[in-house]
């Protein structure tokens, strides 16, 4: 994205803001999104898909008095823009005054001189051609087949690269643009298991910069290793036992927690963490932060969806909940201040979001952690949506390995693990050191002292 292109998008945003105010709005906020991507997929040694396209869209949020409405269009023609503005004004007159609605005070808005350089854009990503991308995917899939003769089929190997720019212009005086790139490779081999069942596994790598992307052959080999390791998986008898979550499974637990600390869930009282700031919500081994300022990380950004300056937020320290994450609206509802955690959807709505939510690493290695677990379940994958945010009740399908005498034993599948999330986090009795920042929600491996496993 050249400077000129970004400026053109800011100008477009500014023009829509001006026309909306002229049409009778008291507040107008415009997001302009522009991006392009290439996705390729190879399967069993052949090209399966090459997809390439660019897109642009406008999202408008207006207030007439304290009445809120928002509109979106991918039709950037004059007619399209006119409909966008007229519909927003019409809908705003239909909605009812909300005394808490409104943008942040203009004095709180950030400006360019304050924005951190987060290194989220790499020109090199866009230079990967469709041919190179296919070759990369094919090499990765080949590596998976070569890893073990029991890899007999494949759901494919994919490579995607994308670049995008988002612009926010508001009638309160904010104008800013944020650009980023992204590349990823995913490899999904299939193995035949003994009883006629098939086992599908996968591994992936993704990064902001092309140079940080893992080699596709290494990704393919790791995908194959994971797939083969699941062969011969069996159920376990129903029991209570310690559960070790590998970092992918741990991340998914942290994701459930993330949904329960957002301001919107708190004022709606639809989180089990209502009224819990200052109290113990996890074991003292647990520190959780939300950090939008990590260079090259997937969730990084210099300013939030309302134009406030991004900041590092400490959520849990020594197991004690320090704060919720809030945008301006939820902060007003709770009588607190925004944590600069607003997210603006392309369609114009504003909500609270995590950026890079991180459960901090401890010093012990993953292998040590397993070695000191006499009997337990090592979870590498979870299935289903068994979580109730209001009560914290958690029960999901799990697969992984039995831990016996400190070593990984046979693979396990078709079992569920259950425990209320509040208790689950309080029962964390070991945290490993294997944290990485591949994902916007990231955790090292951790162990929960006891959960219910339902199986045979």
């Amino acid at each position: 994205m050249s400077e000129a292109e970004a400026k053109a998008l800011v100008d477009l945003g500014r023009s829509v803001v001006e026309r909306t105010i002229a049409g009778g709005a008291d507040v107008a906020e415009v997001g302009v999104h522009s991006g392009s991507h290439l996705s390729v997929k190879a399967r069993v040694g052949e090209a399966e898909l090459v997809e390439e396209a660019g897109s642009r869209a406008l999202g408008l949020r207006v207030m007439v008095g304290r009445r809120v409405a928002s509109t979106y269009t991918s039709d950037l023609s004059d007619t399209g823009q006119r409909t966008l503005i007229e519909d927003a004004l019409e809908l705003a007159r239909l909605s009812e005054p909300d005394e808490f609605a409104g943008p942040p005070d203009p004095s709180e808005l950030s400006s360019e001189s304050q924005w951190a350089e987060l290194d989220t854009f790499d020109e090199g990503v866009s230079r990967i051609s469709a041919e190179e991308a296919l070759a990369l995917a094919l090499r990765g899939e080949r590596a998976a087949f070569d890893f073990d003769p029991r890899i007999t089929n494949s759901e494919g190997a994919s490579f995607t690269r994308a670049r995008g720019v988002s612009v926010l212009v508001t009638s309160g005086g904010f104008a800013g643009s944020d650009q980023g790139t992204y590349a990823s490779v995913v490899i999904n081999p299939i193995a035949d298991d003994e009883d006629g069942k098939k086992r599908s596994g996968y591994h992936w790598s993704s990064s902001r910069h092309y140079a940080d992307l893992e080699d596709s052959q290494a990704v393919g080999a790791e995908a194959a290793r994971r797939t083969i390791a699941q062969l011969g998986a069996k159920k376990l008898p129903t029991q209570e036992l310690p559960v070790v979550f590998d970092k992918d499974a741990a991340r998914s637990i942290l994701g459930l927690f993330a949904g329960c600390i957002l301001g919107g869930a708190i004022w709606r009282r639809s989180s089990y963490l209502v009224d819990r700031v200052g109290t113990r919500v996890a074991s003292e081994l647990v520190d959780i932060v939300d950090d939008p300022l990590l260079p090259r990380a997937p969730g990084s950004r210099a300013f939030d969806g309302e134009g406030l300056l991004s900041r590092h937020n400490v959520i849990v320290e020594g197991g004690v909940l320090q704060t919720y994450l809030m945008d301006t609206y939820s902060a007003r509802k709770l009588g607190l201040n925004s944590t600069c955690s607003a997210s603006r959807s392309p369609a114009g709505g504003i909500s609270t979001t995590t950026t890079n939510l991180i459960l901090k690493a401890n010093t012990q290695s993953r292998d040590q952690l397993i070695a000191e677990t006499k009997h337990g379940l090592y979870v590498t994958g979870m299935m289903g949506f068994g979580f109730n945010a209001v009560t914290g009740d958690f029960s999901r399908g799990a697969s992984g390995f039995l831990i016996q005498d400190g070593e990984l034993s046979h693979p396990v599948s078709e079992v569920t693990i259950s425990l209320n999330l509040d208790q689950l986090l309080q029962r964390i009795d070991a945290v490993a050191d294997d944290l990485d920042h591949r994902t916007a929600i990231a955790s090292p491996t951790f162990r929960v002292s006891s959960m219910t496993l339902a199986g045979a």
């Binding site: 991918s74 209001v390 399908g397 078709e414």
Partner: protein, 481 residues
């Protein structure tokens, strides 16, 4: 022409696409060779209204439009799209998609002509054309009814969604087809609190229809359902853990079938031999009680379509009959591979995505048993009434479902409500373990959305009361020694 929102590419639109323009674009798409090409023009408008804290807090509308061009060479697909209908932009998308067949000789497409399509969702007045005040009034009624029904109700939010999706499809085999697909969705969510205990309940529905939906399922009826569920759950106890009999309530439980069996019968997984049902047509894959169909023709149902997103004409496909696997759900690509004709299951989320075999309304047909006899036959088990969602591993059929409302069955009677229940099992195993089927078949009114490879499409499900002998229930209470 009535109504406010119309596709620019339709007749009388600003960029009308006729057979001539379609033929020119298809010729460009096949300029480098290629076995097949299609054009997918789409214009969609959606609106949503959220009623929260007793006010209409937000109102939204979105317009999305574009053309997706697909070119196929063997098993390889080239795909590109553009977001306006100027000829230059459309031509550029066709040129980009054509690259997949680079090096080949130009192929001439067959001249297109318009297909007649059925009319499965005739709507007199589309919701988007109705005054917003009427939708606000519906949400107000739901909110008021929920709040008035019980003092333990502490929060209510209600939402209404509406959309129109107009599509025009043309392909190099000479077919052109058009459809206009309305869809509405209502949802109500309540939280009840009692002595520090907090539970939620919800109810919702909709389909391919207008506001006449609420003549049948009134906002007050939904309020009653949502409040009842939240109050019941206030008394819920921890669920048992382990293997036991499970009885599925009619209607919503069809989602289990959708996940556990439906996905494995989508033809792409079988073409690639990655499904546990691959190569098993003609084999017994379920209890002989089971007949499973996917039926796109149910009037007004959320999953129904007049044409699929490849311009094919879907009807009612019998997938399993008396336990025997009859066939897969085909899109055009898989149908070519299996040397059969597409049965209209090619669907896509939008012009930004390529089509693949997808379900429409997937249903397990009713049996002979009285529902009360089915419950009576269980000495200890779980009665699954409302489902939250589920997930399946296509390669081996393993699935997990979570219940939002479930009960214990003790000595042939439905007793205590249970919280945090998950059902885990294997699709083919569960289908073989179907031992009783009720005569109370129902189509679910739920707003089900199916996700596959990142693409979401609306679907319908249906089934009677079903008894499955021995399934793993994932609760927290391990049976005492």
């Amino acid at each position: 022409m009535t109504g406010r929102y119309h596709a620019p590419f339709a007749e009388h639109g600003s960029h009308t696409v006729d057979a001539d323009i379609a033929n020119r674009l298809l010729r460009i798409a096949l300029e480098k060779g290629g076995d097949y090409a299609d054009l997918f023009f789409e214009y969609s408008v959606s609106g949503s209204y959220v009623y929260d804290e007793q006010i209409l807090k937000s109102a939204r509308r979105a317009v999305s439009m574009g053309l997706g061009v697909r070119v196929m060479k063997g098993d390889a697909t080239g795909y590109a799209y553009c977001e306006n209908f100027s000829f230059d932009a459309m031509k550029q998308a066709a040129v980009t998609a054509a690259q997949i067949a680079a090096g080949g000789q130009p192929v001439a497409p067959l001249a297109v002509s318009m297909r007649d399509a059925p009319s499965r969702y005739p709507v007199e007045v589309e919701s988007l054309d109705v005054d917003g005040e009427l939708k606000k009034a519906i949400l107000e009624r739901a909110d008021r009814a929920a709040r008035a029904s019980d003092s333990r109700v502490v929060r209510v939010d209600a939402s209404f969604g509406e959309s129109i999706r107009e599509v025009l499809i043309a392909n190099s085999r000479g077919h052109m087809a058009h459809d206009r697909q309305p869809l509405i969705r209502f949802g109500l969510h309540v939280i009840a609190e009692d002595a520090g205990n907090r539970q939620s309940g919800s109810s919702g529905g909709g389909g391919r229809m207008g506001l006449e939906y609420f003549d049948g399922q009134t906002p007050e009826w939904h309020a009653e359902q949502a409040v009842r569920q939240a109050l019941v759950m206030l008394d819920a106890r921890e669920a048992p853990a382990g293997e036991m009999d499970v009885v599925l309530a009619p209607g919503d439980s069809g989602i289990l079938l959708h996940e556990a069996v439906g996905h494995g019968l989508e033809a792409d997984f079988n073409r690639k031999k990655t499904s546990n049902y691959s190569g098993r047509v003609g084999e017994e894959v379920a209890s002989t009680l089971c007949t499973v169909v996917d039926d796109a023709s149910l009037e007004g149902s959320r999953g129904s379509i007049n044409i699929d997103d490849e311009g094919q004409l879907p009807t009612r496909s019998v997938l399993i009959e008396g336990g025997v696997l009859k066939g897969y759900m085909q899109d055009r690509h898989s149908a070519d591979f299996f040397e059969t004709s597409s049965d209209g299951h090619g669907r896509r989320q939008s012009f930004r995505s390529h089509p693949m075999p997808r379900m429409t309304n997937t249903m397990l047909l009713g049996g002979q048993d009285a529902p009360e006899d089915i419950i009576r036959s269980v000495s200890r088990g779980v009665y699954a009434k409302k489902f939250g969602g589920g997930q399946v591993d296509i390669s081996n059929g393993d699935f997990v479902f979570s219940l939002t409302e479930g009960y214990l069955i003790e000595d042939g009677k439905v007793t205590a409500p249970l919280k945090g229940v998950n059902l885990i099992g294997n699709g083919p195993d569960a289908m073989r373990n179907v031992v009783m089927l009720g005569h109370d078949f129902e189509v679910s009114d739920g707003s089900w959305t199916c996700g596959k490879e990142g693409q979401s499409v609306p679907v319908g499900v249906g089934c009677p009361t079903i008894k499955i002998a021995s399934m793993t229930v994932g609760g927290t209470q391990v049976a005492g020694g």
